[in-house]
Amino acid sequence: MKTCKRNSRFPMFVTLLTLIFLYVPLILVAVASFNSSKYGGAWNSFSLKWYDRLFNERAIWEALANTLFIALISTAISTTLGTLSALALYRSKNRLKGIYYALIHTPLIVPDILQGISLLLLFVTLINLCGSLCRSLFGIELELGMTTIIIAHITFCMSYVAMVVLDRLHEFDYTLLEAAQDLGASGMYTFFRVTLPQILPGIVAGALFAFMLSIDDFVITFFVKGAGDTTLPIYIQSAMRRGTPAVINALSVVFLLVTFVIVFIAQKLVTKNSESKK
């Protein structure tokens, strides 16, 4: 314990300062959300009216429903595709592997605005090329909307899932597969009884990650959405462009609380897991 005293205080100082920097604006928002005054400058009186307004705002509920709908569908599809691609990547030794890996890995690096615009360009080109054909043949109108949003979300979530699962697969002890085979298990049996249970935490983590990313996304959605589509981030942004409406204070606090609870639970689960492993 003597060594602790000799350690520099500087890192702790930076840490505390950063935490203050991170939380002062958020705390201010939380305080403002209970202020009956419309502008945060002066304290008027304690009030829950913004929360009341928040829960009675129909547009928010609609945006929330859209957000959850998009998040659920894109999480389900991207988790399936991402897990499969991780498995394929893990097992393949083929020359295509490099290209495949780049396809899955680089979307994590490309800034979201580029993903947004490139998908927009794809959809616009497709509508230009086959829009009229589809209309006359099937009576379907090709246009930007929920479908394009979901496609976009699946695309960027998939890579995250694949990477998380692939990480898990790389940690996974390859001799376990040999052991299963050695004990007489077929390929299928080994997959369902050994591989899948082992990578399941990775899949769940990947799915959670995908879900959070989908709920959080503004930029890509904004590029590929149709005229009337609103998700929660889109709603907040359009409200913000009009100023700093006090309802958003209340909404931010709700967001913060939900995030807090989810991260807290996730952290508890992770530490519990690593303890039981030891």
Binding site: G82, A88, I109, P111, L121, F218, P233, M240, N249, V263
Partner: protein, 290 residues
């Protein structure tokens, strides 16, 4: 025969995502480069034929300033985030008490809090009628007429604010695996704390630091929402310009030309780094053999 079966099953499980990524990721990127050579039609759509006009338009005198600003803001915010993240990670990795988990939680929460909420908080914080502004005026640091929002400093601060957790997490992940008895060993050999930190701790966690640089620098280059919401006309970045061309001018070719530029700015250094790494490794193996 067994390996062929394995190959086929691999194809079956790999094909859907492969096709998906080719269609919705690779082809769109190619389109970005292609459409930069298309003319615009009168209705904001794509015209017929091909043209070099859009590319030549990029010589517009307002662009160099925007590109330069995007560049230096990206570099500065990355530098600050990493500089702050290293001592934090060091501290966190060293701690063993319950406070470690609390601090970790406090850093992860902003990471997962909605991006817009975080920007919004700064709009409230820096608001013209806000408590911070009133405080600064009361101390006499600024005039009442100064605006804290809608300038490039606001953009920079909010960028640092949003990217700090991005920088902490990869560095912490490396630091957590660091064997702190190495620091004790260095001190035992007569090194000062700072010398041990610089010559032992930093090199060992360098991989985490490079990851942090990547995950901050690249989104910073593509930043669009932050300048859009807390910046003003004088603090536009490349990201804003792309969005502006899409949503306001309806000029998709122009937007793709700008995006192509940004794409090159992201991918070229990455490929270069990869190539250098490859060359170094090849040289090492060759040296190892002789």
């Amino acid at each position: 025969m067994k390996s062929r079966l394995r190959n086929i099953s691999n194809w079956i499980i790999g094909a859907p995502s492969f096709v998906w990524l080719v269609v919705f990721y690779a082809i769109p990127i190619v389109l970005v480069f292609l459409l930069a050579f298309k003319p615009v039609d009168a209705y904001g759509g794509l015209g017929e034929g091909w043209t070099l006009k859009t590319i030549l338009d990029l010589r517009n005198p307002s662009y160099p300033a925007i590109i330069w600003r995007t560049f230096w803001q990206g570099i500065v915010s990355t530098a600050v985030c990493v500089a702050v993240a290293i001592p934090i990670s060091y501290q966190l990795a060293r701690m063993t008490s319950r406070w470690k988990n609390v601090i970790l939680l406090l850093i992860i929460v902003p990471f997962w809090t909605n991006f817009l909420v975080r920007i919004y908080a700064w709009r409230v914080f820096l608001h013209a009628d806000g408590i911070f502004k009133n405080l600064l005026v009361a101390i006499g640091l600024i005039e009442n007429s100064t605006t804290l929002l809608y300038n490039q400093w606001a953009v920079l601060v909010v960028m640092i604010y949003t990217y700090i957790p991005f920088a902490v997490l990869p560095i912490y992940a490396s630091a957590e695996k660091f064997d702190f008895s190495l620091i004790d060993a260095a001190k035992d050999l007569g090194a000062s704390s700072f010398y041990a930190f610089r010559r032992v701790f930093l090199p060992v966690i360098s991989k985490g630091i490079w990851t942090a640089v990547m995950v901050v620098l690249i989104p910073a280059f593509g930043a669009y929402l932050i300048p859009d919401l807390v910046g003003g006309p004088s603090s536009e970045l490349v990201g804003d310009k792309i969005a502006q061309r899409v949503f306001i001018d309806r000029n998709l070719p122009h937007a793709s030309a700008l995006s192509a530029l940004l794409m090159l700015a992201v991918f070229l250094p990455m490929l270069l780094g990869k190539w250098l790494n490859h060359m170094r490794r090849r040289r090492q193996t060759r040296e190892g053999r002789t």
